[in-house]
């Protein structure tokens, strides 16, 4: 017999794990942002599942008929909020990615970090030992898509 609850929870935890893997293991900024979106989707599903029971009706009264058992409206309101917050942050992240690419010509996280450290050090007037970092050519070769 198939347990629907178990399937749903596996889906939520699966999305969370895939999202975390995307954030931690990717080096391309757009893919990392994809990972954040997946992680948020998983967290939202988990939140909605928190007090879910099979067989409850939607928490809306239609034409004066009150169902016996209604779903918990609180997590629904919370997920609504979380989705809207997510899209605001997503838009900001994409704007920033746009500016970063315009400034550094790359979206590779390691390369961006290297260039940023150079910028900071240059502003501070310190010369950075370049040996500790991989040569730029290797980094750009790994970058996907291309600018």
């Amino acid at each position: 017999m198939l347990d629907t609850g178990l399937v749903l929870y596996s889906g939520a935890f699966g999305l969370i794990l895939i999202g975390i893997a995307g954030i931690v293991l990717s080096s391309h900024l757009v893919r990392i942002i994809f990972g954040v979106a997946l992680l948020e989707a998983g967290a939202n599903l988990l939140l909605l599942l928190a007090t879910w029971h099979e067989g409850a009706a939607a928490p809306i009264i239609v034409a004066g008929r009150v169902p016996d058992r209604m779903a918990d409206p609180v997590p629904q309101a919370l997920v609504l909020t979380a989705i809207v917050i997510g899209v605001g942050i997503l838009a900001l992240a994409l704007s920033l990615a746009l500016r970063v690419q315009r400034a550094y010509g790359t979206l590779d996280m390691h390369e961006v970090r290297r260039r940023m450290e150079q910028d900071i050090a240059g502003e501070a007037g310190i010369d950075l030992p370049s040996s500790s970092h991989a040569p730029a050519a290797v980094q750009t070769a790994r970058q996907e898509g291309g600018a």
Partner: protein, 228 residues
């Protein structure tokens, strides 16, 4: 080295989540607050859609902050993307069919958006969903004719006034001696269009705010210079 530590971090988190998954008992939680709201919402708030009752009544404060987050993201987005240089290339205009379609779609989308917003306390949907439709109504013409500019002054005025009126309705309750954001006015008959007191007004403010915020974000992104 960094890859290794990230992989270790991931492994640790994965183990933690697997442990939670194993130890969890599904479907046993008692939604005590949810049940209490389900039995009290019709009387206390008067909205037939209990999710709306939670979003604007019980947790109206969250909604206010959520609007602020969108507002902040739009403000910060404007700060990040800055002004478009006048010499920048524009996208080519879309074809005739898309332009004519956009002209037809615009009034339709505005009406649908407003309908969804104003029925938010009765049926599924409300300020957020309707606001997205309003935003797309104002954005599609820009996609069809990239040369046209949206009036940023008008957008920022609408977003400012809509957000302020949400807070103002909340403050009105305070002047009446009640708590911030207490629903005002008569609750009316459950299920009627004019019911649930000030909730439809609040949802209208939310819808306009979300619509103008998202339209602003979209145009900021699309107005930034094209790379190729």
């Amino acid at each position: 080295m960094q890859r290794l530590s990230s992989a270790l971090f991931l492994l640790g988190l994965g183990l933690l989540i697997a442990a939670i998954f194993r130890g969890m008992e599904f479907g046993t939680a008692a939604p005590i607050v949810g049940q209490a709201i389900n039995s009290a919402a019709a009387e206390q708030v008067g909205a037939a859609n209990f999710v709306t009752a939670v979003v604007l009544g019980y947790r109206g404060f969250d909604t206010l902050l959520e609007l602020t987050i969108l507002f902040t993201a739009a403000t910060a987005g404007g700060l990040v993307l800055g002004k478009r240089s006048p010499t920048a290339k524009r996208d080519p205009d879309a074809g005739f069919i898309l332009q004519a379609g956009a002209d037809l779609l615009f009034p339709l989308l505005v009406i649908v958006g407003l309908y969804i917003i104003l029925h938010g306390h009765l049926t599924p949907g409300g300020g957020f969903q309707g606001g997205v439709i309003l935003a797309s109504a104002f954005f599609i013409p820009i996609l069809a004719r990239p040369g046209t500019r949206m009036s940023h002054a008008a957008v920022s005025t609408i977003e400012g006034l809509a957000g302020a009126s949400f807070i103002f309705i909340g403050l009105l309750a305070m002047f009446g001696g009640e708590a911030f954001l207490t629903p005002l006015m008569d609750r009316g008959e459950l299920g009627a269009l004019l019911s649930a007191g000030s909730l439809p007004l609040l949802y209208l403010a939310v819808g306009l705010k979300v619509g103008s915020e998202l339209a602003g974000l979209l145009t900021h992104l699309s107005e930034s210079e094209a790379v190729d």
